[in-house]
Symmetry: C2
Subunit: 336 residues, 2 copies
């Protein structure tokens, strides 16, 4: 193993997991990180707040369906949503490269303002740093989010149970393919747009319907595969999915083939993977499909005792189930 | 005015204020940003939390008295302290340049762990991104902090009153001079170390003593001058300081002269500027001087009706008072 940080350490694959486990997490407080969720839930008086942070380094900054500003708001909102929280407050920290045109900064800031209004979250505090030319890439945005977790809501990997149904809230791979297409100069008959969208209202809709969501996670870096593996590991269960049930747009599937990537490893920015008891699955699907943002929801698999805990497998149309794994080599860098 | 972001936009001077006022702040929620404080205070149930964020892009990453990790913890702790909050939870978001030696990352993370233990704040959530070689500078760290504001505590610029005493909690200019010395290859007989230190216990000590702190701010980017001007503007008062009362180490003063910079514009990382009623000033000074971190505290000035609201002035040993101003030109970039 090299003694330097590689791009693969940031790509959502196996190397990133190693870096986290061996180097970063030892600095963290274990009491709170053991839940291994994107947002941590913390007690404040008689209430519970969710707290999360994400850095956005996407290249290019503008892509079909969004930009770094929209992503920095919705991405963090979705991490709060994954903990069942109602998003309330956002911080925004900018690291700007000397020479960035001011109108680019204005466009990004304007986009953040619009996105925050859409997601009904207030940007309440921030910071701006400028680094020398050649020490950045236009701009990086780090947002941290705070939300309120409603009473009785408990959404985390440890609550996943054998028999749970696994639902994805729409077709997969749009965000990564949209970004990669711009980067590689590919054009399609109809342009593929990022699915970048806020998912907190969708989650609150499920909660209001009385559905006990066991776990949820937005399938960003590393795609649906990474989410399933993370939750299988954190919840100590085995997850099995059916390839034929995974919703994907034919254009996205074709682009993935062209780019030589597995759609299950491609980042989404508006798709949640949701775990509910099998008895709640139909009702959950019905509620999700009633919303525009999750109209394409589908049950893609289940939690089962038929495989080793901490792993995931995929059944293809023909042939036996194969193990789902994180990409080992060069991943999809700077996709979010 | 150029249409591009310049280094001066990040230096804590006039250009930075312009960028904030005209470009960044319009995206923010005005209800909360109008307090114009480093940390925003938010209601959660019957409690109040303080929330703040800062990006750390300091170059070099290691300097006498500290490193980017320690700075990223203490800097954000001090923003919480400035709102009178007890620090509780921290998020850490890393933007790492491809090629960073893993042992450098380990050193920084270890330093963060130690700093967090010292400041009694838990690092509870985080994120790691890797950017291509030449698109970063080793690593950038963004931390966001959460703290609990004790009942009855209300520390903010709007509470500053005519007659208030202005106290600085130690000698000024150490951090900026320590960093600049390394950058410029200067050596001194006894090395000047950064004052980098957590100030939350110091603030809570004042609160426990029953002192009504009207306003406080740690004098980082832009130095003591920037803090006084910001608070004068936000509190709509005039602040007058006495040059002869400002504590400064002779070696730091000499280095500032050599470097051609005004110590009042130099960043500190362990100094708070505190506003209290004149009747509380002596008691405050006594309490501060009883603590190691603020042993060098001094009353440096007062809030007065003798000058235009929103401005600050400095009385020198000889001659009349002159206006205090933010540096207009090239500031001290990447000092924090």
């Amino acid at each position: 193993m090299s003694n330097h940080v590689e791009l693969a350490h940031g790509g959502g694959g196996r190397k990133m997991r190693q870096l986290l486990e061996h180097t970063i997490l030892p600095a963290f407080d274990n009491k709170h990180t053991e839940a291994r969720h994107d947002a941590v839930v913390l007690p404040v008086g008689t209430q519970r707040i969710a707290f999360t942070t994400d850095g956005y380094v996407i290249s290019p900054m503008f892509f079909p369906g969004g930009d770094i500003g929209k992503l920095a708001v919705f991405g963090t909102v979705n991490d709060l949503a994954a903990a069942g929280a109602i998003p309330k407050w956002l911080s925004a920290s900018f690291i700007i490269e000397e020479g960035l045109p001011l109108d680019v900064l204005e466009k990004v800031v304007h986009s953040m303002r619009e996105a925050a209004a859409t997601a009904r979250i207030d940007i309440v505090t921030g910071d701006t740093k400028v680094v020398d030319r050649g020490k950045g890439d236009g701009m990086y945005v780090t947002t941290s989010g705070l939300g309120i977790v409603p009473d009785g809501v408990d959404v985390r990997p440890a609550r996943v149970r054998d028999g749970d149904s696994v639902i994805v809230t729409g077709d997969i791979g749009r965000h990564g393919v949209a970004v990669l297409s711009v980067r590689k100069g590919l054009t399609f008959e109809s342009p593929i747009e990022s699915d970048c969208a806020p998912l907190a209202d969708m989650m609150q809709c499920l909660i209001r319907e009385g559905i006990d969501v066991h776990c949820a996670r937005d399938a960003t870096r590393g795609g649906v595969a990474a989410v399933l593996l993370e939750i299988a590991a954190a919840g100590r269960v085995h997850v099995e999915i059916q390839e034929t049930e995974i919703p994907i747009d034919p254009a996205v599937a074709a682009a993935c083939e062209l780019l030589g990537i597995d759609a299950l490893h491609v980042a989404n920015e508006g798709r949640m993977v949701v775990f509910v008891a099998e008895s709640d699955a139909k009702r959950t699907l019905h509620a999700l499909r009633s919303l525009e943002v999750s109209r394409g929801s589908a049950i893609i698999g289940r939690v089962t005792t038929g495989g080793r805990a901490g792993t995931a497998s995929i059944r293809t149309r023909f042939g036996p189930a194969r193990a789902l794994d994180l990409p080992a080599g060069e991943p999809l860098p700077r996709i979010c």
